[in-house]
C-alpha cells in the first residue's frame, strides 16, 4: 500500500513537471495582466473623472452623486482580470485533453512506457486528474493573491475622495466569476468543484474510448458524454415527464442529481480502468 502510494506520488510529480511550463505561462499572463490592470484602471478612472468634472463643472460631491466611485471591484470587473481568467479556464480545458494526447504524439509514443510501468494503470488516470486539479487550484491561488495585492496598488493611484473601501469578501461575492471560483462556503465549494470533477472524469473516459477504438471510439465518447449528461439532468425533468411540478420535493431532485453524478463518476472510473487495462492501443 505504501509502495503504491509512493508510485502514485511519483507519477503525479512527473505529470506536474510536464505541466509546469504551461502553468507558469498562464500564471505569468495572469500576474502581468492583473498588475497592468491594477495600474491602468485607476489611472483611467481618474483621468475620466477629472475630464467629466471639468466639462460639466462639477465638484467631487456632485460628481459622486451622478457617477460611481472607484473601488477594487472596478479593477476586478475590467477586461484585465476577465481576460486572463477566460484564458486560464480555456487553457486548462485544452490541457485536460492535451494531457492524454501528448502521450501519442511524436515518433516514440510515450504512452508505451507509461503503460509498461509496474503500477496499476488506473494510477495513470488519477495522476492526470490530480495534476489538472492542482494546476487549477494553483492558478486560483495566484488570482486570489493578486486580488489582495490590488489593495496596495490601486488606492494609491486614486484620490481618497473618489475611493470607496470595499471588503475583499464583497469584491469576490459580487463578481460574476469569482463568486463561483471562490465560493463563500465549503458546501458550495465542494458542490461546484464536484461538478468540475465529474466533467473531467467523463472527458477523460471519452478520450480513452477514442484512444481505444479510434474513429468508432470517438463516436462512443460523444455518446457516452451525452448519456452521462442526460442521466445527471434527468431528475430535473421528472416533474415535466409526470406533468406535475410537485411530484418530487426540491431536496429529492437534488439528491437524485447527486446520486446520478456519483453513478456517472463510478462508471467513468471503472470504464476507464477497463479501457486502460484491456483496450488501449499504442
Amino acid at each position: 500500500m505504501k509502495k503504491q502510494l509512493i508510485h502514485f506520488i511519483r507519477l503525479v510529480n512527473f505529470e506536474f513537471e510536464r505541466m509546469i511550463k504551461f502553468l507558469f505561462g498562464i500564471i505569468a499572463i495572469v500576474i502581468v495582466s492583473n498588475l497592468i490592470g491594477s495600474i491602468i484602471v485607476p489611472l483611467s478612472y481618474m483621468s475620466e473623472a477629472r475630464e467629466t468634472m471639468s466639462l460639466e463643472s462639477l465638484n467631487v460631491t456632485q460628481f459622486l452623486e451622478m457617477y460611481p466611485s472607484f473601488s477594487i471591484s472596478t479593477v476586478t470587473n475590467s477586461l484585465w482580470i476577465y481576460g486572463p481568467l477566460a484564458l486560464g479556464i480555456s487553457g486548462f480545458l485544452f490541457y485536460s485533453i492535451y494531457i492524454w494526447y501528448r502521450e501519442w504524439l511524436g515518433k516514440n509514443t510515450f504512452v508505451y512506457r507509461l503503460l509498461m510501468l509496474p503500477i496499476p494503470r488506473i494510477f495513470i488516470f488519477f495522476s492526470k486528474l490530480f495534476t489538472v486539479f492542482i494546476g487549477i487550484f494553483s492558478l486560483l491561488s495566484i488570482q486570489y493573491v493578486m486580488i489582495r495585492l490590488f489593495y496596495f496598488i490601486s488606492p494609491s493611484l486614486v484620490s481618497s475622495d473618489l475611493y470607496k473601501q470595499v471588503d475583499v469578501s464583497e469584491v469576490i461575492s459580487s463578481h460574476r466569476a469569482f463568486a463561483f471560483l471562490f465560493p463563500e462556503s465549503f458546501g458550495l465549494f465542494a458542490g461546484l468543484y464536484s461538478i468540475g470533477l465529474v466533467f473531467l472524469l467523463v472527458l477523460f473516459t471519452g478520450i480513452l474510448l477514442e484512444r481505444s477504438f479510434r474513429i468508432t471510439g470517438f463516436i462512443y465518447g460523444i455518446v457516452y458524454a451525452v448519456i452521462s449528461l442526460v442521466l445527471i439532468v434527468l431528475p430535473s425533468f421528472i416533474p415535466t415527464i409526470f406533468k406535475n411540478q410537485y411530484i418530487l420535493y426540491p431536496s429529492e431532485i437534488l439528491l437524485l442529481i447527486i446520486a446520478a453524478a456519483i453513478i456517472v463518476s463510478v462508471v467513468s472510473i471503472f470504464l476507464s480502468k477497463y479501457l486502460l487495462e484491456k483496450k488501449i492501443t499504442v
Binding site: 486570489y144 410537485y246 426540491p250
Partner: protein, 395 residues
C-alpha cells in the same frame, strides 16, 4: 525530496491561500450580522406570535442574506441545512403540513390552499396549478383522514362553458364544504361543493358580478397570502381608471381598489360597506376568525372599526403610528405602515423606515379596544439594511 519541491510548493500555496480565503469569508460574514429585536417600548412577549421572513444586507454582501424569525430566534437561511432550505415554503402552516404529512403533500402545489382540523387535512386548488395546461376547467380537492391515513381525491368540473377561461382567485374550506371564488369572462362567482355527497360536484353559490356590479375585484395583501381559513371575502370597486380590468386575473393591488363589499362564505350574505364619508389615505378590511375590522390609515394615525353583519361600523379605535428613532427627522414620519393582522384582541403592524437611504424594520403591537401601545421594537443592528418580505401570526 528536492524533485518534489515544485509540486509541494504549489500544493502548499493552494491549501494555504484557499484556506485563508475560507477563513476570511467566515469572519467577514460573522461581523455584526447578529440580528435581534430592540425593544423601544412595551413588552416583547408579543414577539412570540410572529413568524417573519426577510433580507438583511450590510457592508459585506453575502450570497444569501435571507433570514427567518420564529420562536424569538433569527436564523439566516445560509445557516440552515441546504435540503431544509430547498423544501421550505413561505407559509408556515403549509410548511408544518409538508413536514408532518410529506406523502400527502407530494404532488400538490405548495401555493395551494390547505386547511388542517383535528380530523382531516384538506387541499384544494385548480388542476393546472401543478402543471400548466392551456385550458383546464377542473378543480382538485384532496382529503387526508388523520384517523386511518386514508386519502380521498376529487376532481370537479367547473359548470362553465368550455370556451371560457377560468381563474381560481380564492378558496374557503369549511369541511365538508369547500367554496371556490372563480373569475371567468369578466364574471366573479362563488362555487361550492359538499364532500359528504355521494358524488361531489360544483354548484353556483353566488354570481358576485351580477349581485354587486361590474368593475369589482379582489384585493391582496403584500404581507401574507389569502388563507383558506378566512370566512370572509373582501371585494372592492376599481378606482384607478388606468388599470386594465380586461385581464384574466381579478386580483389587484390594494391601491387600485377601495373595499366596497364583504362576502360571507358561510351564510352567503353580501355586506355593503358605506365608506362615502371615509377620507382616509388607505382602507383595508382585516379578518380575525369570525370578526371583521375596517382599517383606515391617516397621516399620523390609523383607526380600527368593527364591522357588523349589516355593514354598520363601531366607534373607531385610534392608533398612533410609532416613529422610529433612526429617522433623520422624526417630526416627518415618512415610514410605510402595514397591518399584519389581529390575534387575541391585539393588532400587529409592520413599519419600514428609510433613514440615510437604508431600510429599518420595526413591529408595533396595539390593544384592539383601547389602542394602547403594547409593544414597539425594531430589528437591529441599524447598520444592516433589514427588509421584511412576509410576516405571519402564529396559530
Amino acid at each position: 525530496m528536492k524533485k518534489y519541491s515544485k509540486l509541494l510548493t504549489f500544493l502548499t500555496l493552494s491549501i494555504i491561500v484557499l484556506g485563508f480565503h475560507g477563513i476570511s469569508m467566515a469572519f467577514a460574514e460573522s461581523e455584526n450580522r447578529v440580528l435581534e429585536f430592540k425593544t423601544l417600548e412595551g413588552d416583547d412577549v408579543y414577539l412570540d406570535d410572529l413568524i417573519i421572513r426577510g433580507f438583511a444586507t450590510g457592508s459585506t454582501e453575502i450570497f444569501d442574506p435571507s433570514f427567518s424569525y420564529r420562536d424569538r430566534t433569527f436564523t439566516y437561511a445560509k445557516d440552515q441545512s441546504l435540503f431544509k432550505r430547498l423544501d421550505e415554503v413561505e407559509d408556515p402552516q403549509i410548511n408544518r403540513i409538508r413536514e408532518r404529512y410529506r406523502s400527502f403533500v407530494r404532488g400538490k402545489s405548495s401555493r395551494g390552499y390547505f386547511k388542517e382540523t383535528d380530523d382531516v387535512i384538506v387541499y384544494a386548488n385548480s388542476s393546472n396549478a401543478v402543471f400548466p395546461s392551456y385550458k383546464d376547467q377542473t378543480l382538485d380537492i384532496s382529503v387526508l383522514n388523520k384517523a386511518d391515513d386514508s386519502i380521498s381525491d376529487y376532481t370537479l368540473e367547473l359548470p362553465i362553458e368550455e370556451s371560457q377561461v377560468a381563474s381560481l382567485e380564492n378558496v374557503y374550506i369549511n369541511y365538508p364544504n369547500v367554496y371556490f371564488t372563480v373569475h371567468s369572462s369578466m364574471t366573479l362567482s362563488v362555487f361550492s361543493t359538499n364532500l359528504n355527497d355521494a358524488t361531489p360536484s360544483l354548484s353556483l353559490e353566488e354570481n358576485l358580478t351580477d349581485s354587486i356590479g361590474t368593475n369589482i375585484g379582489l384585493t391582496y395583501s403584500y404581507m401574507y397570502a389569502e388563507s383558506p381559513n378566512q370566512r370572509f371575502l373582501t371585494i372592492g370597486k376599481l378606482e384607478n381608471a388606468d388599470t386594465d380590468l380586461d385581464s384574466s386575473d381579478m386580483v389587484f393591488n390594494s391601491s387600485d381598489i377601495k373595499p366596497s363589499h364583504i362576502y360571507d362564505y358561510q351564510t352567503g350574505k353580501i355586506i355593503d360597506l358605506d365608506l362615502s364619508t371615509n377620507d382616509s389615505l388607505f382602507i383595508d378590511v382585516i379578518v380575525e376568525d369570525d370578526l371583521l375590522f375596517l382599517m383606515s390609515e391617516f397621516e399620523k394615525t390609523f383607526t380600527l372599526q368593527e364591522i357588523d353583519t349589516d355593514g354598520g361600523l363601531s366607534e373607531p379605535t385610534e392608533i398612533t403610528k410609532e416613529t422610529l428613532p433612526t429617522l433623520d427627522n422624526p417630526s416627518i414620519n415618512n415610514s410605510d405602515f402595514s397591518v399584519i393582522g389581529i390575534k387575541d384582541g391585539r393588532l400587529y403592524s409592520r413599519i419600514s423606515a428609510y433613514p440615510h437611504g437604508s431600510t429599518n424594520s420595526a413591529i408595533q403591537v396595539n390593544d384592539l379596544e383601547s389602542g394602547e401601545l403594547l409593544y414597539f421594537g425594531m430589528i437591529v443592528p441599524e447598520s444592516l439594511d433589514v427588509w421584511v418580505s412576509t410576516i405571519y401570526l402564529n396559530d
